[in-house]
């Protein structure tokens, strides 16, 4: 009986937490129109979350693309269809690896930065000071950071896929000797707009999820060194699990 009671209590607690985060998201959405009026704040956050993540995204994209080129070539060579490497790499990157790996890297680079920044602002009374100056910290601080992340994520995913395709081409065409014309022409004919759309939708949804988790954890961090550390860790762990779970749901929905 005790086990059942504890399970029930955990389920209720989990649902209450989910309800609270959904209410928080709704509040962010309600405040978005007024936050858009101060677009300079959002641009600054797109820079912080997006531009400052570019190096890690580009490097990772290049290496993922190169691995994809190697593995794809090895696999396709078995069936004598290595000319299809371009389409295989492009579809893999645009539909799946681009959005997912970008989201995981985003959670590790920008998400942790957002969570720790907000947590430290909470710990050093900066958010309370704003409240006392009659400035809503959610509207002034949280919404621009959330929107910055939401805007940056699809852009980063696009850069990741682009560099990844270049990496696959570098290995497949330049090193393994796949015909350049076949690589690019098969990619052009094999990749539909629907594939690109799937990647865009996924990266947008991952952007909302990762940014929401980061600002939620940071804003509600316990105002101590340990509390901020825990918020940062939870941002990465929760984002990774949620992104992979959402990826499964979205992939099944697009099939």
């Amino acid at each position: 009986m005790n086990v059942l009671r504890e399970l029930w209590a955990s389920a209720v607690e989990g649902l209450a937490g989910l309800g609270a985060i959904v209410r928080f998201l709704l509040r962010l959405i309600v405040l978005t129109p007024s936050a858009l009026l101060r677009f300079d704040l959002i641009i600054q956050q797109v820079f912080n979350s997006g531009a400052l993540s570019l190096v890690i995204i580009m490097l990772s994209g290049l290496f993922v693309g190169m691995v994809l080129g190697l593995q794809g070539f090895q696999l396709l060579q078995r069936f004598g269809s290595e000319d299809s490497l371009g389409v295989a790499a492009a579809i893999g990157l645009v539909k799946e690896l681009g959005p997912v790996v970008t989201a995981l890297l985003f959670a590790g680079r920008a998400g942790t930065a957002l969570a720790s920044e907000l947590g430290l602002m909470r710990a050093t009374d900066q958010l309370s000071a704003m409240e006392m100056m009659a400035v809503d910290p959610i509207k002034r601080v949280v919404v621009p950071r959330f929107l910055g992340g939401v805007i940056a994520m699809p852009l980063l995913a696009a850069v990741f896929s682009l560099i990844g395709i270049y990496g696959a081409q570098l290995i497949g065409v330049q090193i393994m000797g796949v015909d350049s014309g076949s690589f690019w022409s098969q990619m052009r004919s094999g990749v539909d707009l629907a594939d690109v759309n799937e990647g865009i939708v996924k990266s947008c949804i991952f952007g909302v999820a990762c940014s929401l988790i980061a600002v939620w954890e940071g804003y509600h961090a316990i105002p101590t060194a340990a509390g901020v550390g825990r918020a940062t860790t939870r941002t990465v762990v929760t984002s990774a699990v949620v992104v992979l779970f959402l990826d499964y749901l979205l992939t099944s929905a697009f099939l």
């Binding site: 050093t124 009374d125 900066q126 006392m132």
Partner: protein, 284 residues
């Protein structure tokens, strides 16, 4: 409200002589079942410096949070500038807060903005003043706290005392009616402490403010406060002018003012029998 000259350690009893700007009646407040206040009554007279003192953990900062509407009371009334804090909605609370300024314990400056931008922050958020006027207002307030020369520095480049002075400039930039100080002397060297004391008195008199200072630095705050409330055990145990407090024969007041280690506020936290706990084996 007429500005009054410096009256360090004034012995006049001003309490209740002017209309209170903050009135607290029968306030009850508890956190996680632990009672912080029970039937608390406090009146903060307009235009004066009122100090709220008491041992650590007695709820002084919580009282400020209740006055500023950051937390809600469980029972009782809190009237601030004629507004009932328990009934105020969020938007009305923000309107009221524009009439208040608060100096946090650590200054709470926005770390990504320069000193100038920190002081300009409330003006930029709440007004559409032209840049030239914002600049003049900010420089005027920074001059008042003696830090006009530090306008371009970042908060990380300031000492603790300077941070608090910048935060003070920010707190007065919207010309508030009530200025609240939360432990303004913690961690300051004697010179910085003297500067903050002087600013508290001078700003109160020249700007016609009402100042509420939470502190446990008895000597320092007694030199500028007009009225003092001493809190202990969730209640007001003494009130009056600093001199009246110094002459108060109550044990709690004697212990606090004299800085005695043991007394009504015990040295030891409540604990089981010492000998019995030392002799207990194998149980934690």
């Amino acid at each position: 409200m007429t500005p009054r000259p410096w009256r360090a350690g004034s012995c006049d009893n001003h309490l209740n002589q002017e209309a209170p700007i903050v009135e607290i009646r029968k306030l009850d407040y508890a956190v996680n079942g632990r009672r912080i206040f029970e039937g608390l009554d406090i009146e903060i007279p307009q235009g004066r410096i009122t100090a709220v003192m008491g041992p650590s953990g007695t709820g002084k900062t919580t009282l400020l949070r209740l006055i500023t509407g950051q937390v809600r009371a469980d029972a009782g009334d809190i009237q601030v500038a004629g507004e009932d804090m328990r009934k105020l909605k969020r938007a009305d609370l923000y309107v009221l807060r524009r009439r208040m300024g608060m100096l946090f314990q650590n200054g709470a400056l926005l770390t990504d903005l320069s000193v100038f931008e920190n002081v300009a922050f409330p003006l930029r958020e709440h007004t559409d003043l032209p840049e030239r006027l914002i600049r003049q207002l900010v420089l005027t307030k920074l001059q008042a706290v003696g830090l006009r020369g530090a306008a371009e520095l970042m908060p990380s480049e300031l000492s603790g005392g300077m941070s608090r002075r910048v935060a003070l400039a920010r707190a007065i930039v919207m010309d508030p009616e009530i200025l609240i100080y939360d432990e303004p002397f913690v961690g300051l060297d004697p010179i910085s402490m003297g500067v903050i004391l002087r600013l508290i008195r001078r700003l109160n008199d020249t700007l016609g403010l009402t100042s509420i200072v939470v502190s446990h630095d008895v000597q320092e705050i007694s030199s500028v406060a007009d009225n003092v409330y001493l809190l202990s055990g969730g209640k007001v145990v003494a009130k009056g002018t600093p001199l009246e407090l110094a002459a108060n024969p109550s044990d709690v007041v004697r212990q606090f003012v004299g800085g005695l280690a043991d007394g009504p506020v015990p040295f030891h936290n409540p604990a089981p029998d010492y000998f019995g706990e030392l002799m207990a084996r194998g149980e934690n």
